[in-house]
């Protein structure tokens, strides 16, 4: 394995009621900035927050996890895509509305020494999660190349921010409505040779492709995964993935507290949704070596 697992965040999360300070449409998404100083001051790039949805009459009990795009000056910014009822409700919040939020949650991206050139790869709203990271890397003088891809122009995200922060930015769309036509992975191949570390956030298929490409070239790659989460804080065990630990053994690891940032080479993407025999404790489930 090339990667070292991301360390635990330095500070624990808090739960707060945070008013919406700003709301902005960004292509197909809604960007919300909330007033949450104690969350902002604790945030490390790559962490996420969890919002209660639907207000006091809600039938939706579970929080929705949303990656933190940027955190600073007392505020936290997120980009939300209206997928189902919970995220749709979030995108409908207006300035002044109060949100019940827990964060920052999970582990951030490990930060490389300043001299290591970094390649950041975002897919869809996944690019938002890389903005804080890009800022942090730029701050310490790291050379940053960013690739933002999406199915179509309206589903691109954070391109202006990344353009401002990165040394090089490439945009790809599957349908060619913006940037180069094609998948992000094509652009990634091109920049990989100059990269010392890769960070990726986006759909699972993309994470897998980016991680495979980087690992094949011996470049450490960190991915921020998106697994269905019931609690977001590590107590329910719904969000697990088969991840290879430092001892070489695979465990079902919680993406909320042991992730969402994992070494890409450590995530057994092909086995997600299955129970491989060599996962620790699979034997007790009756799964034996084939």
């Amino acid at each position: 394995m090339i990667t070292t697992p991301a360390p635990r965040a330095a500070r624990p999360p808090v739960q707060r009621t945070a008013p919406v300070l700003r709301r902005r449409l960004v292509g197909a998404y809604v960007e919300l900035t909330i007033d949450a100083p104690e969350i902002a001051e604790r945030t490390e790039p790559g962490q996420f927050v969890a919002f209660a949805v639907g207000g006091p009459t809600s039938a939706h009990l579970l929080r929705r996890s949303i990656a933190i795009s940027t955190a600073g000056e007392g505020a936290v910014t997120v980009v939300v895509s209206a997928a189902g009822p919970g995220s749709t409700w979030l995108t409908e919040r207006q300035v002044g509305d109060a949100l019940d939020v827990v964060g920052p949650l999970g582990r951030g991206f490990p930060i490389p020494p300043p001299v290591t050139p970094a390649l950041l790869v975002g897919g869809g709203y996944g690019s938002a999660a890389l903005v804080g990271l890009a800022a942090r890397l730029r701050e310490q003088g790291t050379h940053v190349v960013a690739v933002a891809g999406a199915a179509t122009e309206s589903r691109l995200c954070s391109v202006p921010d990344l353009t401002r922060l990165a040394d090089v930015v490439a945009v790809t769309t599957d349908d060619g409505t913006a940037g180069r036509r094609g998948l992000v992975t094509a652009a990634v191949e091109e920049f990989l040779s100059d990269a010392g570390v890769v960070y990726a956030c986006g759909p699972m298929g993309m994470l897998r492709a980016v991680s495979d490409a980087a690992t094949a070239r011996d470049v450490p790659c960190y991915v921020a995964v998106e697994e269905s989460m019931a609690c977001g804080i590590g107590v329910c065990m719904t969000c697990v993935l088969p991840v290879v630990g430092e001892d070489g053994r695979t465990r079902f690891s919680r993406s909320c507290t042991e992730g969402p940032v994992f070494g890409g080479d450590r995530v057994r993407f092909a086995d997600v949704g299955t129970l491989p025999w060599d996962v620790v404790g699979a034997d007790a489930m009756g799964v034996t070596r084939p």
């Binding site: 609690c231 107590v235 329910c236 719904t238 949704g273």
Partner: protein
């Protein structure tokens, strides 16, 4: 709600062991307590009811492991956990160091498994008692769930009671998926249970309209959350009515102090907060405060007076 702190006596007991608060976590909904530390004072709550542990470490089931449902959720975790060795080595000492009480949930697929777990937990640090999760398939009876068969359930409880530290109260955790919950309650109490935890999840299913297949890898899963609260309250009511002297740890959809109050009035002397923790990580502490306020507002001097009150008021 205004919380009235009128010096309400919130101390209660699990079996004969006193606890300072009637509000506990629910097994499987707060892992082993660690992750709640930023949100809750673990030494102030009634106890941490730990995730059901088995003899060996378990991976649990493949994902997806959950589906959100109206006012609830379905889960199929498959009891992922460290096994008894891990629990004894890491989790119980961690809780003990912090002065938190552990009410240890044990699970197995054979009567002997349960007995061995109880035996291993004798004298373990910080252990307050045992909650026996009998909603597990019995491998010796074609996978029928122990909790659905009064005889099998009693066998487990008798074996655990015999093997456990005599100072540890043993609670049997009942499943609502039975025709006659009072019958099961009576059987396990006769077998030596010091109390009853009620209820475990209801068996449910959700189909994904896109894949047109069950959402969960395990096909069916356990339904929890406020959706099931009326069923849980009915079970507590029925059992307390039939067996008023048996202590009940009530649970199922508790989200607020007034929800907890309903369980207490129906006959529970303590309550567990499960799924609500996913919505609000500080729920256990909040429910304690709200319950104290609600009891004070109603003129109770302590929780003890309120237990089963809804039955007495009838008379």
């Amino acid at each position: 709600m205004t919380v009235v702190d009128a010096g309400i006596d919130m101390s209660t007991a699990l079996g004969r062991v006193a606890i300072p608060s009637p509000v506990l976590t629910a097994s499987g909904c707060s892992a082993f307590g660690q992750e709640l530390e930023p949100f809750v004072d673990l030494s102030a709550i009634g106890a941490v009811v730990t995730k059901s542990v088995q003899l060996r470490p378990r991976s649990g089931r493949p994902t997806p492991r959950m589906a959100e449902t109206p006012s609830g959720m379905l889960n199929s975790i498959g009891l992922q956990g460290p096994g008894i060795d891990g629990l004894l080595a890491d989790d119980l000492p961690w809780l003990a160091e912090r002065g938190a009480r552990a009410f240890v949930s044990i699970a197995g697929t054979r009567v002997e498994d349960f007995a061995e777990l109880a035996e291993r937990l004798r004298g373990a640090p910080g252990v307050l008692g045992l909650e026996v999760n009998i909603s597990c398939p019995n491998v010796e009876s074609r996978g029928e769930v122990f909790a659905c068969d009064p005889a099998a359930a009693s066998d487990v409880i008798a074996a655990v009671r015999a093997a456990a530290d005599p100072a540890h109260p043993v609670y049997a955790k009942l499943s609502p998926d039975v025709t006659d919950i009072v019958g099961v309650a009576r059987a396990v109490t006769d077998a030596g249970a010091d109390g009853l935890s009620m209820i475990n999840t209801l068996l449910g299913l959700v189909i994904d309209p896109d894949t047109m297949r069950p959402v969960l890898g395990g096909v069916t899963g356990g339904l929890s959350g406020p959706a099931i609260r009326p069923v849980a309250l009915r079970c507590v009511w029925q059992v307390h009515q039939a067996l008023p002297e048996v202590p009940i740890l009530g649970m199922g959809g508790i989200r607020s102090g007034l929800d907890a109050l309903q369980f207490v009035l129906a006959g529970a002397s303590a309550v567990s907060v499960g799924t609500a923790v996913f919505n609000d990580p500080s729920a256990v502490a909040r429910v304690h405060d709200e319950l104290a306020g609600a009891l004070a507002q109603r003129g109770f001097a302590g929780i003890g007076e309120a237990v089963g009150h809804a039955h007495r008021a009838a008379a």
